[in-house]
């Protein structure tokens, strides 16, 4: 597979490490009310779509960027690649 890195252009998938669903960005607040239930969902509940899947890839043998790759699980077609940091900020994560 080839992953079009937003900063470095097309890169071979062998340079990356895969982590999984990009929903892992949405980490609950551990000090909030109901944190146990929120973490249970965060840790264990995953969609398993036949189709577009947003997922985390780490450019370990490259620039160490975490990326959010949108991949069609049926064809491996990659339709979008973003810096995970930008995605995290867009989802309201900050400090």
């Amino acid at each position: 597979m080839i992953i079009p890195h937003p900063l470095l252009g097309p890169r071979d998938a062998q340079e990356f490490t895969y982590m999984g669903d990009a929903a892992l960005i949405d980490r609950p607040d551990g000090m909030a009310e109901g944190a146990a239930e929120a973490f249970d969902t965060y840790l264990h509940a995953r969609d398993n779509p036949a189709g577009l899947h947003r997922e985390l890839w780490y450019h370990e043998a490259g620039d160490r960027s975490w990326l959010v790759v949108t991949r069609d699980t049926r064809t491996h077609e990659i339709t979008q690649v973003e810096l995970a940091r930008d995605v995290a900020r867009a989802r309201g994560r900050s400090q």
């Binding site: 597979m1 080839i2 490490t17 982590m19 892992l24 960005i25 980490r27 609950p28 607040d29 551990g30 000090m31 944190a35 146990a36 973490f39 965060y42 840790l43 985390l56 780490y58 370990e60 160490r64 960027s65 975490w66 064809t75 491996h76 077609e77 990659i78 810096l83 995970a84 940091r85 995605v87 995290a88 900020r89 994560r93 900050s94 400090q95």
Partner: protein, 986 residues
Amino acid sequence: MTGRRLEHGGQIDRAQALRFRFDGRALTGHPGDTLASALLANGVRLVGRSFKYHRPRGILSAGPEEPNALVTLRSGARAEPNTRATVAELFDGLTATSQNRWPSLRFDALAINDLAAPLLGAGFYYKTFMWPAAFWERVYEPLIRRAAGLGRLSGAPDPDAYDKGFLHADLLVIGAGPAGLAAALAAGRAGARVVLADEDFRMGGRLNAETFALGDTTGADWAAAAVAELAGMAHVRLLPRTTVFGAFDHGIYGAVERVADHLPDPPPGTPRQILWRITTRRTILAAGATERPIAFADNDRPGVMLAGSLRAYANRWGVAPGKRVAVFTNNDDGLRTARDLRAHGVRVAAVIDARPDAPDPRIDGARHLPGAVVIGTSGRLGLTDVTVRTADVREFRIDCDALGVSGGWNPALHLTCHQRGRPVWDDRIAAFAPGPDLPPGMAVAGAAAGVPSTHGALHSGHAAAAEALDALGRTAPPADLPQAEDAPLALRPLWHVPGTRRAWLDLQNDVTVKDIAQAQHEGFGAVEHMKRYTTLGMATDQGKIANVPALGVMAELTGRSIAETGTTIFRPPYTPVSLGALGGRATGPTFKPTRLTPTHPWAEAQGAVFVEVGQWLRAQYFPRAGETHWRQSVDREVLAVRAGVGLCDVTTLGKIDIQGTDAARFVNRVYCNGFARLAVGRVRYGLMLREDGIVMDDGTTARLAEDHFVMTTTTANAGPVFRHLEFARQCLWPDLDVQLISTTDAWAQIAVAGPKSRTLLQRVIDPGHDISNAAFPFMACGAVTVCGGLRARLFRISFSGELAYELAVPARYGNALMERLMERGADLGATPYGTEALSVLRIEKGHAAGGELDGRTTAQNLRLGRMVSTKKDSIGAVAARRPGLNTEDTLELVGLRARRPDSRLAAGSHLFAPAARTEAANDLGWVSSAAFSPHLGAPIALAFLRGGAARQGEVLRAVNLLSGQDTEVEVTSPHFIDPDGERLRA
């Protein structure tokens, strides 16, 4: 002796003779020959025995689809079993040996299997080797293993090198026949970067095997001119002897180039094969087509061949495979074979044409039998005659020693399936053609696309290139293509001739028409079931010849059309790929990178024994004169640390430099214990959890400045922890001001441990740095200089439990620092120690390491539960509080001490009460680390024991059923020495 070399013709160099041996017999051939063509030229017909019934088999084809002519090529360590003689290029000195026969090819004892054939039909494995179950491992499996398989591996290490290479192209053209050459010429002339790969050593495909003209020249000469033009283009890469075996995601293709397979030995510095990873924007598959046979009774005798191959041997290699040849066909292409052979002066006995309305090819001396079929053959080790049934149901024999069979041509569409594309049935060519779901960027041209004629191949190749060039933003040059034959495909499908004797469909797996009928009868009518039940289409040829005829038979049996019957699809690889090519240079010592510690040269000079720790090579122990067992060395090193001072290179532990105004907040969130208020100049032990509450890693982290931390990780987790921290930094808290860099390789770090460690350090640390107990207490850290101005970092931390320090200097000074410490510590008894002593020391002290942090244990298991702070949000803290991880009888870290000093205690043992049966229900826990403690004079261990904290003093058994050990142990504190930590603070 039936085959012979013709007087003239063929693309071989008759001026040069190549000597080779087959089963010990000395033979000769010429440059340009394959092993198969040279064998046929020498009159050899019998080349192997079939897989299951050990029936005599000969050469069937002239290409990679060959199911029969599998030989072991070369000898000794280079012996390569199951090599197809049809694609093995002849070289001087080649040796080939037939397979699957004993004692000889002509007389094979296991041919008795053939008599037992009624018992060995489809699915016999599943029916025969069932009962009793106890026979499975002891009787059936050894029996099957001995009988199964074809060739044998040499068992010796492969003496050759294999390389991997990367190519990038605008257009990859697979196959250099008329379609591929036309496509490559168009794209090359348009300036595109082209890779043209062909598995043959001579590019041209069928053009080399035919006699018809292209314009005013021969097909072979036109191909040679096209290849010469392409070779002159700098942006075109020609890859002959290269099989593209797989189409992978995103325009990546795998190919194997056989660089030196056609040479006796690879020349120095040359790999035997190269595995190419070709990344391309567009691909044209022009892989041609594979001829298929017609099944009839006893159609597997040596001498029965594919008609197009028979013709290829005559035209390309100047070989007449028989003295008197017959042709059995259902299409006009078979007539071409008869004509070409006759033109070469070969006697053609008959043209047996299954089509009632077949045109008479008018071949001198040949009987023309329209509407006739072959219903049988004779000849024990090779064909002597065929029995024919004519349209008017007369039956008679025709003498012939070679029979060319043509049942039509199947497009070589394998690569179109590699991204789950499904072929579709095309009635016009009575074959499966590439379906609409091609791998992205791929187009198919020529015979591979079901285009039957040479004219069609040339034009479809050019058109496919024009379309690809358009997509690449280039303009195709005008088509400059020669006139070529454009005969229509006149074919009447015929899959098998009904009869009572066995008619073979899959020659490699010995599957007959009857086997298909039996599979259907027993409920395995679905294509995928039929394939697995009968083993049709498996092994090295992967059904290149057998699949479609078998589908035709199945369709007839079920009364459905072939389109309704369906097809199996193809997966990579197209032809077998050697493990050597896949492994490339990653063998032996170069299997993975080897990382050497900074003090490696010094340790080597000391005679250290080294051990692999991940990619690192670390000193395991330092034997001294007179020590004959590793335990003697390790015990001495351990005692030297406890009594004096020892030195150990601990550079391999991961070091992560963390800087930024939010560094303290960051560290506080990735460790479960508090770090926010760690003072500058202090170190703290940190426990790192995964988000699911399981312990990920541990280590010490030093605060060098307000905004500067140095974290250490275990050696094994240096990479994973860094990745984890980057995830936290980029994905969880993207706006924290914190930067990370790995400094594992930047600093050499040496542990200086033992009661005399301070004395030794005071001799190398420059005056002005006070490291007295008061000024530099336990868990202090700071920048110092050593040896007259060299910048260094000093950490007062201890893995051994003794007064100890770790001293870090820039990596290039590590070796010199170790030498200096040894020299200055000579009178103190400074002793180097390796990873074994390091491990014994930490087990004696009860520190967790890899055995304890195995991805299953929690802070509670380690009895560090109270470290998980509830006052802050840190990774893993919430999940660590899950009720299931906090039960009363949870596993807890304990120490174990063997009751008898001479007993053995091994990691991996399980714990049982003294009287309990050793079965899972009574399992109380397991031993995670074990060592002999020279300090206590007994084997000791760390273990996870149910409710362990409360069981101190109990006697249990540590049982290792694998090694038969059953050792009485006493449960103790995990801290075997200095439980109160007085030594640390000395």
